[in-house]
């Protein structure tokens, strides 16, 4: 069965931050060889790169594979031709996110950051623990400043995926 190819996909990747080096790949497989998750999942870095170069846009962006990277940079460190492999996986994730394919737990992290300025919000337990340790209950971070939070939110809204914020903004 032949799959639908998108001849513009390569250009799209090349112009996405992190995707600039994809064309250096000559399919040696050093990336997959050193990949810690390849032992436990079906994720094969080399295959993802090959699919991308072939223009199999839908397969790459809608699949689970690109989300299986731990971002350990082992492949990027080893690549003999200088493909910034890990950064490339993140570039593909950026494109997948624009298409609405980001996994829900990751979108929740995005929302937590938007709503509080931090990915791990401060709870009552946090404050108690900090007090007991002799630390200020809330350090002078975005968490304690509505103005700082407004600045962070403004920057997030100007980014490319403000659609991820819709549900959290509606709550307000």
């Amino acid at each position: 069965m032949s799959k639908k190819r998108d001849p513009k996909f390569r250009k799209e990747i090349l112009s996405t931050p992190g995707g600039e080096t994809i064309q250096h790949c000559y399919q040696c497989g050093s990336c997959t060889g050193g990949c810690p998750t390849s032992f436990y999942t079906n994720f094969r870095v080399r295959k993802v790169i090959h699919q991308s170069l072939l223009g199999l846009r839908d397969d790459v962006l809608s699949g689970n594979d690109i989300w299986m990277c731990t971002v350990c940079f082992t492949c990027q460190e080893r690549c003999p031709t200088g493909v910034e492999v890990t950064d490339l996986m993140l570039a593909l994730r950026n494109l997948a996110t624009k298409e609405g394919y980001a996994p829900a737990p990751l979108k929740n992290v995005f929302k937590a950051l938007f709503e509080t300025g931090h990915e791990f919000p401060f709870t009552g337990y946090t404050r108690k623990l900090r007090r007991e340790l002799g630390l200020s209950e809330t350090p002078p971070l975005t968490i304690s400043s509505p103005k700082a939070l407004e600045e962070v939110q403004k920057l997030m809204k100007m980014g490319g995926v403000s659609h991820l914020l819709k549900s959290s903004e509606m709550k307000k």
Binding site: P17, V71, T74, T97, F110, T126, V161
Partner: protein, 286 residues
Amino acid sequence: MKEYALFLGCLIPARLPHIEAISVKVLDKLGIKTKDIVNASCCPDPVVMKSLDFHSWLAIAARNLSLAEETGADILTLCSGCFSTLSKANHLLKHNAELKGEVNKLLSEINRSFSGKINVKHVVEIIRDIGKETIEQQVKKPLKQLKVASHPGCHLVRPSNILHVDDPNTPTIQDEIVSWVGAEPVNYALKMLCCGVGIKMVDPEANLSLLREKLANLKETEANCIVTSCPFCFMQFDKEQREVSRKFGESYTFPVFYITELLGLALGFSPEEVGLHLHTTPVKEV
């Protein structure tokens, strides 16, 4: 006395504040002062946020860098995630004029700008740079009973074209510090294997399998504890060992130390001051 701008991030102040407390105490004893970066936010993290939207990741990182620039001091961070993000963003913005222009246009909307006049340091390289002699002089209780497996973690040393802390494949920076506090560093084959935390949210099974691979390797060695300088790796080892043991019917009970906890004990702080009672995996015989 050298002074740094302390970048706290999220995980340490919100979930592991004992690491914040002991790190500041240890640094102070070693002659390093820290000051707050007022209004700093999440760095943002180099795995989730960078995956979802590179542009807001970079803009928020640039805002944090610009806040630090105002203090006039280099950044000191306790978290390898923050270290990765802030180092990469700082590098990109210092070396790519076009990107710097775009980001400064965004930052101008909140009356800020990035100029590129500071550097980003990880606490472990600051400790290394203090040096063997100074640290050995300060040690009150050498940790002779500890055989320490060091887990440097990925984001301390990779990618090596951006981060220049140590060799990206065989780093020894933590082992050196371990030996300065009187403990014995233990080498092992899978030292640079990732702890797996980066896929915890999307594939918890693979995450635990990866951690198990690492723990099983450690069990073959003489190591009686683990040291790391990344709070995400710390959480992964300290909290998930129990889960790995349960899932695979094996027993892993390595005490886990953050690097400044180990120093804290050696410099004479009590286990309570170091925060050992807040660990999930019990720490005995220290």
